[in-house]
């Protein structure tokens, strides 16, 4: 085993330094922390993504806090995976996201209006963290009034674990997971009694071979909250940081809305919140000349795959022209992030509405935005911003 340890990676202040450190360990490296294998090159990551029978998701994302619940589609292999995605993809397609735009735009506008007259805010605590939770509640047909309770449960589970679904069984985690599952189960029953136009009701309406068991819907909704809230919050935090620190770029995006899409893609490429995803090998396999035995835990390191010099000439530069070339922040292969279209929509609405009310803003001098490390999700803990208020402008 190498001497490389994930815990030693200098990720806190600067992701470029962190990713360079990871990449320098080699295309394929076994971390000394816990024996997990890391695939760091684009070629190695793609090989794993395109061989899901060898790099299994079943068992790779076992959630102790949620007991033995099935976690479709994230922790399911083919052929069942195909069945789940066939049902879920149309519910999270760009068409569906676009149809929700007006409502989702109003929600983010309200969040920003709450601090727009104050001259300062924490863009993570008051915006990035809250909005994805509201969008989840909206899509799943639950009341926005439950947002803070939902966040409390989800954050307790995630903050006390070291990855999606790898939460340790501390009493606080078990209590939160139990409360969250009870909450979801209660809504599944309510939607069965009185269906609405939401994800829970649509899954419950499936008939015959397509129909899901209650525990499948429970597990899916649970894992959606684990994977889809803090990752989007993280992406919003990084994007707002990039805009705050680059006033020229920000002004050019405000002047030319066609630059917003490329900016969002480059922000996503530069700092993928889910910097790694985990698989279990089902057989011995050679990756880039390195033999990985059967039954090993393998991390597909998306952070470095997005910085691969075979894909980008200057991968460590933040450059909107990189958006011409697709990135791997939403993963790839059959497990491509189900919520990717939703996440992109949320990022666009946040930035559009923020700039409508607050076009000029900055990070207070002396504050250095930092991520917690090691962590399953890379995200800024806090992003204070100051700006002229409407009255002072």
């Amino acid at each position: 085993m190498s001497t490389f340890r994930l815990a030693d990676v200098p990720m806190g202040i600067d992701r470029t330094a962190g990713f360079q450190y990871v990449r320098a360990a080699g295309d394929v490296v076994q971390a000394a922390d816990d024996g997990t294998w890391l695939l760091t090159s684009e070629e190695a990551v793609r090989f794993a993504q395109h061989n899901p029978a060898i790099f299994s998701s079943a068992g790779a994302i076992a959630d102790q806090s949620a007991g033995m619940l099935p976690m479709p589609p994230v922790a399911v292999d083919r052929p069942d995976h195909t069945k789940y995605r066939k049902v879920l993809d149309p519910m999270f397609s760009p068409r569906v996201v676009n149809a929700m735009e007006d409502e989702l735009r109003c929600q983010v506008r309200d969040l920003i209006a709450a601090f727009a007259d104050r001259g300062e805010c924490d863009a993570v605590a008051e915006l990035a963290r809250l909005y994805p939770a509201q969008v989840f509640l909206t899509f799943f047909g639950m009341p926005l009034a439950d947002r803070d309770q939902l966040l409390d449960w989800v954050e307790t589970i995630l903050d006390n674990g070291n990855g999606v679904g790898t939460a340790q069984g501390s009493p606080a985690v078990v209590d939160s997971a139990t409360a969250l599952l009870t909450y979801i189960a209660d809504y599944i029953e309510r939607k069965r009694q009185s269906p609405g136009d939401d994800v829970l009701s649509r899954v419950l309406a499936l008939q015959g071979d397509e129909a899901w068991k209650v525990e499948e819907l429970l597990g899916f909704t649970f894992i959606f909250t684990m994977a889809g809230l803090d990752t989007v919050a993280a992406a919003i935090g990084f994007a707002m940081r990039n805009l705050a620190l680059n006033p020229d770029l920000r002004r050019s995006i405000i002047a030319d809305p066609a630059l917003l899409g490329p900016f969002i893609e480059e922000s996503l490429r530069f700092e993928p919140p889910a910097h790694l995803v985990t698989r279990i090998t089902t057989q011995d396999v050679d990756v880039c000349g390195v033999r990985i035995p059967k039954g090993e835990t393998v991390s597909l390191y998306l952070g470095t795959a997005n910085r691969d010099r075979n894909r980008y000439a200057d991968p460590d530069a933040f450059d909107l022209s990189h958006s011409d070339t697709g990135h791997l922040t939403f993963g790839g292969g059959i497990h491509r992030c189900l919520g990717s279209h939703l996440a992109r929509g949320e990022l666009r609405l946040v930035i559009e509405e923020f700039h409508r009310l607050i076009p000029e803003y900055q990070v207070p001098p002396g504050f250095e935005p930092e991520v917690k490390w090691p962590a399953a999700t890379l995200r800024l803990a806090s992003l204070p911003l100051t700006f002229p208020t409407t009255t002072s402008r």
Partner: protein, 63 residues
């Protein structure tokens, strides 16, 4: 004239093609891309850029 082709063994519904090149691609109800007009494109440079946008490298251009 080149012809764009989507390899559905590789396409995973990222949706970049129709978001970035709405004249060349459209989406189906599952969010997967489809070529427009049989994938026929007269602008070679445009077609080349369209092949790059796919994270899965599922799009190819044939002369």
């Amino acid at each position: 004239m080149v012809r764009l082709h989507i390899d559905y063994d590789l396409c995973s519904g990222n949706g970049r093609c129709y978001a970035l090149f709405p004249d060349l691609f459209t989406d189906d109800e599952n969010g997967y891309g489809q070529t427009v007009d049989g994938g026929r494109v007269s602008d070679h440079e445009l077609a080349r850029r369209a092949t790059l946008c796919c994270p899965e490298k599922a799009i190819t251009a044939e002369e």
